[in-house]
Subunit: 301 residues, 2 copies
Amino acid sequence: MILTVTLNAAVDVTYHVDEIRPHSSHRVRDVTLRAGGKGVNVARVLHALGHEVVAAGLAGGPDGDVLRADLARSGITASLVPIDGHTRRTLTVADADATVFNEPGPLVTPDEWRSFLTVYESLLENARVVVLSGSLPPGIPDDAYAELGARASRADVPTVLDADGAPLLLGLAGRPAVIKPNADELARLVPDAEPLEAARTLRAAGAKAVVASLGPEGLLAATGSGDWRAGPARRVAGNPTGAGDAAVAALAAGLIAGQDWPELLRHAVALSAAAVLTPTAGGFDADAYRRFLPDIRIEAR
Amino acid sequence: MILTVTLNAAVDVTYHVDEIRPHSSHRVRDVTLRAGGKGVNVARVLHALGHEVVAAGLAGGPDGDVLRADLARSGITASLVPIDGHTRRTLTVADADATVFNEPGPLVTPDEWRSFLTVYESLLENARVVVLSGSLPPGIPDDAYAELGARASRADVPTVLDADGAPLLLGLAGRPAVIKPNADELARLVPDAEPLEAARTLRAAGAKAVVASLGPEGLLAATGSGDWRAGPARRVAGNPTGAGDAAVAALAAGLIAGQDWPELLRHAVALSAAAVLTPTAGGFDADAYRRFLPDIRIEAR
């Protein structure tokens, strides 16, 4: 199975309003709640593709229960270690556009983090690939992804790491099979460098491969067997939220299938573009995915 | 004891942010959750004043549990009938000012409403006054306050009704001891009339007394034993949220104590002004309450 780790999972809430006006009162037309967080979105995509997946993470408080219930309703196997802190919400107020409010994550105690590591070790026994996604909640050490990556390496399980800032930089010590920064993250991590040069620098720093997402232009990969650009034949208009998570899902699935890099990138770009066509993260247009596949342009660099 | 009824209770959530900017992403500095809804706020004030109070209503879903837990933590006895629907939230995004999002209330089934009526009947046996507050969630009939008022009348228990629109107008058939519209509600219900004339009209329509809250100017009362204006000696600056609920709490407490109208209004204005000094609904500044009491100006009309 594919193991996804979401240490800062969330309940994604959407309020539909007519128009957001600061410092006034709004009637919310309807409220939707959905299990979220980058690793949960990846699990959702993999589950829809028919892969066996376990969504691991931490959950606490009333919204921890909402998270568990929504995953159960979606048919996704979850392994969420209970915490005293309360699972956070992300709130999107949707009118013609989106206004987002991100709650802070729960404080995680050292004991809770140790419990997670124990559960993680046992899940590794059946994992063929591990996906490590998203931010770390307060209390989790910044080198958490290095620790999780090193444990996966010892169990001979490759990892895909999708994080930012210190957790990503320190995570390189865990020797991830792939990291997936986006263009902004790449520029922040390696300033004053061309994207490909920056990707190569991160590879030299410990990642076996770097696949950077460049928004509508597709993906840029620096790998041990060559460098590539891969992009859709045409620009796809829609909601880019979750496109990166779909790319990560494709990379994880492709690693298991033993796809070579051009094939891996073809699937990642097609699935990512198909995710842009659906309004919520973790969803994708299955017909579009199949339709896009033959038209993805792959170019060696 | 004093029985408060909040059929559309809520969890009041506050997000503190630096500055609300539509169509951008916000980091929420901290999140507070608190049991809310007008009747719950009234119960909170009465509990702080040392009165025996039972907060009755409906609660369901994860936020129904949050509501119960917060009332328990506050030491307020609750009698919340379980419903399948989910208790709503009100969200205040606070920067220098407040932006409010009101979720729709849960759908209440006819069976749940009947269950509430059964519980209400048994609570009436020990109630000395009933406070009926706030909006009605979907599924509750518009004449709910008429029904609750009539049942209280049959049990010889006076009611204080604080509602708006159809539930208030239809509620007059329940012969409430006092209704407490604010100036806007008064103007909507009886257009093109002076406030005192409008209050007298509502009294003629069924309310034994009408106490209208006129914001910083205080209260206007049309009663069977005369009409009064009552106001604070000086304007009080602060947060007016919950000031009306504090006035209702004072009216309920005063009805039990058998205070005459000038004394009732004195307490209601002083408590209301003391509530303006605290940032959250259901709170008041106890010292200010005592300090304001002798200075309230009461004027017969």
